[in-house]
Symmetry: none
Subunit: 197 residues, 4 copies
DNA sequence: AATGAATGAGTTTTCATTCAT
DNA sequence: AATGAATGAAAACTCATTCAT
């Protein structure tokens, strides 16, 4: 539970990157000068802490994922039971998506769902949270014995992604007759039916 | 509905982009000079056909998706029945991922699964195929009446993404006790159970 | 005798470097923008021909040495006899130094006398010319048999350096009672006395 | 005539510069941070003692020359007679060059032989020593009356440079048939023949 | 007096785009 | 229509210098 203390300048840089991403900018297109201006620090300062713009961006990405995952963990820790936590996951997903600009959705999806899969810290983001929930559910005996944890976690992650895509309003090409509440109900039902003992 | 014949230069450009992406490059980071070199044409020629690098990249992206989707459509057209086509979708996903470099996975996922959601041609790629399958299944009466097409399509897409992530070998953080064949079986079972009438 | 044809842009860059050096600038302190401005070409053009500023500077240096050595060779080729050519060497040295700004002396000495010693092209500059003269003198039988060519060449080079330093008006710390003509006479006398058979 | 005691910080800076030069770095390309790191003091401290990097570098240069010249003077003071001291000059030159890295040769030559010529302290380095020796020789009556001191000093300096270049192993382009001992003998012979009464 | 984190002016370098051929 | 050398605006990066501690 030790939060590594960041240099305030580095923290300011990470915050600036986050703000810009949430405003819809693509992370890989951010200029060093934009970030430092937003962070309110000098351009050269970046190079006291990072070897290059590339490194800054990668570190910021890692940090954002970590931050969000930690938030998520905090919220979920207050909830009980397998389905309770799953519900929390949906809640958090929905509320997080509600706060960001439409143009930022793509980048946020990528940062939160996709790119972690290609990093060594696979277990620390959303995927890590889901795994904990599954683990707890298993120990509580609420999950079907014949389904391996690995599959359940994978399938749950897929359902969160489904929901996130839908909430982003871009889930499908159909004329969108369902509300997101309906979609959520279907998804939760399917989870109950498929995974619960 | 005839496929418009591309200028050979444009085709060469699109192929070059595809090659580079399959070698693991991020599409948004490709330089004009790289693409034209790979395509074997002059740098200036790009601007005979496109207004800017941006436009070239977007067009190439659209083209790649279209190509892949068309291949997919071709393969699926030889298969019968809802579950037959779904099985084909899994087959195609697996074989496609088997052919590309590990570094290219991320970009290919993004191009194929994610970014379409943010384009006007939402219905033309993988999502479009899935929608057709659902539609056909509906007309054939094999799908549960109480589930809307929209949800089924969304959920199916999620399962394909699950499978793709798993095949990419990066699906989860568990020590990987399941084979991809097992995962596939679980996913197909869940589809049968949840959606079939 | 084939002069390698340079791209006109590269030639312009080399000329610009030469001009700036002769005006007293230190070659290693030249800015890319200064050089390209002087050369009358775009800043980016440098990077079409060189990988970096450093490379440009090194190439320009090599070129300057080559150029000057070639001029020297041309002038000397019109003169006959060992002492005739040696005299020419002194003439050329004096006239070359007369043409450049005082502040450029240091840099020019370095380029012409010193740095060649640290390059692979040792034989191509002033040292190379001297060696040819010694060689010719040896074949003509005018040099003392007991002195090896190597020593004679070395000693001659030293005398040219002496003269150059003196002409640069910085030869010594003495109040300078000798004229450069006198110094020259002493140097030529010593050459005659020591090396001639 | 007492040597002014240097602040330990300044001394550390000078030593650091010397070390770096002897490792092959060009003095004009040294960064302030490199020097202070090597000296083991804070970067800002430089500006307590020097107005600018430029001034630090010039002072360090002066110091290095002075140091070396003082060493030289010390060694030579133990030797007697014109040719004895000249021999000592050659000894010192050879042993000094034997101690430094090959890459440092160029810079050391420049610092020791060349750049003094462009400084106000012309008489204080090697040139100064030579002038003293000539002076002493003159007073002792061992030098030819018809040769002015100025020329003798100049010529002697040239011979030392010759020897230094040769010892640096880069004296000429000939296949190097002479040993440095031979070259030395030739040079000493020539000095005896030309300058001694 | 000593420090070193922070700075930003001043560089180098990149690369999409143009345009003469 | 095709080219690629040339460009320069815009970006990354460096590093001497400052100044709060």
């Amino acid at each position: 539970m030790r939060k590594r203390v960041l240099s305030p300048k580095v923290e300011a840089l990470y915050r600036a990157v986050m703000e810009l991403v949430l405003e819809g900018r693509e992370i890989r297109e951010l200029k060093v000068s934009e970030i430092t201006e937003r962070a309110g620090i000098g351009k050269g300062t970046v190079y006291e802490y990072f070897d290059s713009r590339e490194e800054l961006l990668l570190s910021a990405l890692r940090y954002l994922r970590q931050e969000w995952a930690e938030n998520l963990r905090g919220e979920l820790s207050r909830l009980d039971g397998f389905m309770g936590k799953i519900g929390g996951l949906f809640d958090q997903t929905e509320s997080a998506l509600g706060k960001i600009k439409r143009e930022a959705l793509k980048e946020v999806y990528e940062i939160f769902f996709f790119s972690p899969a290609f990093q060594s810290e696979k277990c620390c983001g959303m995927a890590g949270q889901i795994y904990c929930i599954v683990d707890e559910g298993r120990r509580g005996g609420v999950l079907r014995k014949e389904l391996p944890d690995e599959y359940i976690a994978l399938a749950l992650k897929g359902k969160i992604i489904d929901y996130a895509l839908y909430c982003g309003g871009m889930g499908d090409c159909a004329p969108g007759k369902c509300t997101s509440a309906q979609i959520r109900k279907y998804l939760l039902d399917s989870i109950r039916m498929e995974f619960l003992a």
